[in-house]
Amino acid sequence: MKGTKRLLLVLLIGALAVSVAFAGGKKEPGGMAAEGKPVVGAVMVDVTNPFFIQVMDGGNQMAEALGVDIIWKSSEGRLETQLALIESFIEQKVDCIWIDPLDPEAVKPPIRKALAAGIPTVTGANLVEVPGNVSTPFPAYDAFYQLTGMIAAYLNNRGNVVYMSGIPGNWILDSYQAGFEDGMKRFPNMKVLSIQPAKMDPALANQIMESWLTTYPKGRLDAVVFTTDPDMYAAIEAMKNAGRVGEFALFSQNGDLPAVEMIQNNENGVKIDLLSHGIRIGAFNLMIAARLAKGEEMPEVLWFQYVPVMTKATWDTIVAGGYEKDVQKGDPFGEDYITPQRAQEIIANAASEFRNWEPPK
């Protein structure tokens, strides 16, 4: 009897609370921007990966510089969650939705819904072909295609190379590999001895490097190419343990600060690192999203550009070795190269690079 009364009391309180909420809940017409600052909803693949933490840092820096609010949400690596988050942002009537798509096809229906609701959308890293959506894809294939030209020129068009690839099935990482393989075919005296997937797992990268060190004795290997800097660091540890650090030229992608410092200090054989860096990616995409949120129009495809980081001495070497840009699908590089010092400046203040950026005519 007592328990039933208590239960009924709980239900009554619940019903009252619902009524109060329904009567008293604040609903802002026009969505979330009632206070004047545009709001960007950002749906990231994951926020626990260090790369995405960099993306968030860059996005936050740019948001502060441009006077927009940003709401970060994580898909936790799951596509169903990503779609649910996009639909929730539509419900919240944000001023722009920035998505880092797990799958460029699967996000099309909710993107169409958002555009139909008058909310502009930006999809980073992938080409998502929906009329009205702005894509900021990585020219990943071209970046590594061009990189192979630099590697070949550095080695005077003769040498043995190994490649540590990423996660099979990941569009960007597969594109890096495809660009690398196709680029290398241009140089008959350059041999690709091995391609192994490190799956962006530094422990696995370390093991792969140990295997290569065992398989290829001194003099048999001239260069090692990495998809991402953390793999390179793990591989360098294996080289140090084997007493063979500095024996090979190392080439990578990301532009992390430790890698940039290695280039600056001529350490560990690191010669060129393609600066993408999460902080630049975050700043670039937030800049686009902020401008869309403020009502500006943008072209539907805006290629995010890498920048090769190397010393002037390395640049002179590759030019002397006959390096020439050989653009395939699109020029992936914003500049021929930048010095490590300039790379450090950019990483420290991502907003400064893109604040006054204008889309190509």
Partner: protein, 318 residues
């Protein structure tokens, strides 16, 4: 009033869960101005459909004293088989039927391992989780396969009178299987097996066969989930359903299903699913909750809901 009291006492668990759900709705409606709307409630149902469908099968399995950790992998692998057949034949109907049939077949494999070979359900379904997922990755190479045929994607994308098709389908499934569990010999047998398998066997219930059927049902429902997931995502994802089994178990345990078996009710499972769905939706809508805190907030709210439920359970049991 007397009959209401009797009803309330009989359905104390369910009413408590409904009360918790109502309380959460009230709180979240106050915190977020976007929560209490028809569109958002549709979102809540659509976003939790996979969980809700899997909860039906998992309820049957757990009441029978078992466990099925392979449902997430079954979603992925049955999807692969269905999509491959669709691509070979061009027939969406055949592809869809293949998804469901493949799910049933994989469930039967689980049932054979557990019911007839006597392998512990936890071990057997952990093993099949790995096998089905591995097979999916082998066939797809880890790559997604785009599916844009509107017939194939009907369940995941179509609307009838502006209501997503999945909603009436979900309602129909719950009505059907609630009837099966409560009103059929099959349903009664499952309770008996879960309560005391030896006594059930002695009393003439075909325990092994029933176990086979229960896992086949769970697999079939996972196959239906595959159809929905492919439709919703317009693609086959090799990692589809990953972690779904654990979320499903959390939801139905929250709904008061006894993990040891022999007790429980589909409506209580549905209430557990509803509570989880409301919490997840609210976390998406409340901007102040940093994504890093999602995990903490999710866990805390679930613990809070279970604590209220357990406390009320103890009080009303006296």
């Amino acid at each position: 009033m007397g009959s209401f009291r009797q009803f309330a006492r009989y359905r104390i668990k369910l009413l408590t869960l409904i009360g918790i759900a109502v309380l959460l709705i009230a709180v979240f409606s106050f915190v977020s101005p976007f929560f209490f709307s028809a569109n958002n409630f549709v979102n809540v149902i659509v976003h939790s459909s996979i969980l809700a469908i899997l909860a039906i099968g998992m309820t049957f399995v757990i009441i029978s004293g078992g466990l099925d950790l392979s449902v997430g992998s079954i979603i992925a692998f049955s999807g692969v088989l269905g999509v491959l057949l669709f691509r070979q034949t061009g027939s969406a109907a055949l592809g869809l039927a293949a998804c469901v049939a493949a799910g049933c077949l994989m469930g039967l494999v689980n049932g054979l391992l557990i019911g007839y070979m006597g392998i512990n359900a936890f071990i057997a379904t952990i093993a099949t989780l790995a096998v089905y997922r591995g097979a999916t990755l082998m066939i797809t190479g880890g790559r997604t396969i785009s599916v844009t045929d509107p017939s194939f994607n009907f369940l995941g994308q179509a609307q009838v009178l502006q209501v997503p098709v999945i909603i009436p389908v979900l309602a129909g499934l719950y009505v059907l299987f609630h009837f099966v569990l409560q009103r059929t010999v099959f349903g009664r047998s499952i309770y008996a097996i879960g309560g005391n398998p030896r006594a059930a066997r002695v009393s003439g219930i075909r325990v092994r066969f029933m176990t086979l059927m229960v896992y086949a049902l769970s697999g079939t429902l996972a196959g239906i989930c595959a159809v929905y997931v492919i439709g919703r995502l317009s693609s086959l994802q090799p990692w589809a359903g990953q972690g779904a089994e654990f979320e499903t178990i959390v939801a139905i345990v929250l709904g008061g299903i006894n993990i040891a078996g022999g007790e429980g009710d589909l409506l209580e499972s549905l209430a557990g699913v509803a509570i989880i769905a409301i919490i997840l939706n609210a976390l998406n809508l409340i901007p102040a909750i940093d994504p890093f805190y999602h995990y903490v907030v999710k866990g805390a709210v679930i613990i809070g809901a279970i604590a209220i439920y357990e406390r009320l359970n103890k009080v009303t049991a006296r």
